[in-house]
Symmetry: none
Subunit: 202 residues, 2 copies
C-alpha cells in the first residue's frame, strides 16, 4: 500500500517529531506545521495512513500515534558498546550500559553482535581510524584474512587480520607498516569475533 505525497510528508514529520520529543505530536501541532486550518484534515490523513498500515492509533487518546516499522522506517538494532580496543592494550571495561544503534542489515542472521571503539592507528591502512566504531560478530573462529578481535593470553585484546601459518601458528597482522605482526600459538589466543562493519560520525 503506497502512500501519497502528502501522506509521506506527514509520516516523515511524525518520525522526526517523535524522534526529537519522545512522544507523538498532537493534531494541532501537525495542522500548524502543514498550515492546515482544520483538524479534520489531519484526522483524515492519519486515518488513511493507518489504513495503509504505516501507523497505529488508539481511539480518542492524546498523542496516541505509534509508528510501525516499514520500508520507510526500517529497524535498527541496539548493540552494546562493550568498550574500546587498541593494539596491544586490554579491552577497557564497559563503562556503562551504553549502546550503539546499528542498521539491521549490518548484522548477520545468526549469532550475537557487539560494538567496540577502536583506539590507535593499528588498522589505519584498512581505513579504520582512531575513534571509529567497529561492529563485531561474536564468533570463536575465523577464516584466513578476516579482521578479528583477538584475545591474547586471556588478557590483551586487539583488532588485527587473522592468518593461519603453515607451521600452525597464528599471525595477527596489523594494517600499519610501522607495526610488526604478532605470532602466537593457537592455544595462546582466542578469537572473540570478526569485524563486519565500521561506523564513523563527524
Amino acid at each position: 500500500m503506497p502512500l501519497t505525497r502528502r501522506q509521506h510528508q506527514i509520516l516523515d514529520y511524525l518520525n522526526s517529531y517523535t524522534a526529537e520529543h519522545g512522544y507523538a505530536p498532537s493534531f494541532e501541532e501537525i495542522a500548524e506545521h502543514f498550515n492546515y486550518n482544520s483538524l479534520a484534515t489531519v484526522h483524515e490523513h492519519l486515518t488513511n495512513i493507518e489504513r495503509k498500515g504505516y501507523i497505529k492509533r488508539s481511539y480518542n487518546e492524546s498523542r496516541a500515534i505509534e509508528i510501525l516499522p516499514s520500508d520507510l522506517v526500517s529497524k535498527a538494532v541496539e548493540l552494546p558498546l562493550l568498550g574500546a580496543v587498541a593494539a596491544g592494550m586490554p579491552i577497557e571495561a564497559a563503562t556503562s550500559d551504553e549502546t550503539v544503534s546499528v542498521p539491521e542489515d549490518f548484522v548477520r542472521r545468526a549469532g550475537n553482535h557487539y560494538v567496540l571503539r577502536v583506539r590507535g592507528q593499528s588498522m589505519i591502512e584498512d581505513s579504520i581510524a582512531d575513534g571509529d566504531l567497529v561492529v563485531v560478530h561474536d564468533r570463536p573462529a575465523a577464516d584466513n584474512g578476516e579482521m578479528v578481535i583477538a584475545m591474547i593470553d586471556g588478557a590483551s585484546a586487539t583488532v588485527k587480520r587473522y592468518y593461519r601459518e603453515r607451521d600452525g601458528r597464528i599471525r595477527l597482522q596489523p594494517a600499519n607498516e610501522q607495526m610488526a605482526p604478532i605470532y602466537v600459538r593457537e592455544d595462546q589466543m582466542q578469537v572473540r569475533g570478526i569485524v563486519v562493519g565500521v561506523l564513523r560520525r563527524y
Copy 2:
C-alpha cells in the same frame, strides 16, 4: 503505546531519580517535583503509564515502581543512495530507487540527508576507502575544514575538504598526498552537502 507529553516527563523523572538513588521516588516526591497539590494526580499518571506498559507497580507498596526495559527498537532512516562520487568524476546517476538504512542518530535534526558511495582513493588519508558509504547532510554552505560534496562547474562532483582562502577562492583539498588541491572561484562551485558519517560493510 505512546506516551503523552506529561507522561513522558514523569517517566523521565522516574528514570533519572532511580538512576541517582537506586530506588524509585515516593508519590510525594513526584508531586513536589511537578508542583502537584494532590497525590491523586501522581497516582493517575502512574496508572496511565503502567497501562501503556512502561512501568510496573505493586499494589500499595512504598516506592514500588519498576521501570520496564522499553524495547525501544530504535529506528533507522532509509536514506536515498543517490549514486557514487569520485575525485573529478561526475556523480553517477542514481541507478534506481536504492536506499540505505542509517541509524537515526546519524542524521541531524534539520534538513535532508542522502548517501553516496565513494569511488577512488582521494580521501584515503581521512580513512575513507573505495566503496565506503558517506552520509551527507544536504546544505548549500560549509565551514572551513568540513568535508563537503562539491559540484564544480555544475558537472563534476567530488568529495573534498573545504577551505576558503584569503583571496576569496575556494580550495578543495583531497586527503591523498598524491593528489593536488583544486582551486576554484566561489561562483564556479556549489556545496551540495557536508559529510556527517561513514558506513562500511565487510
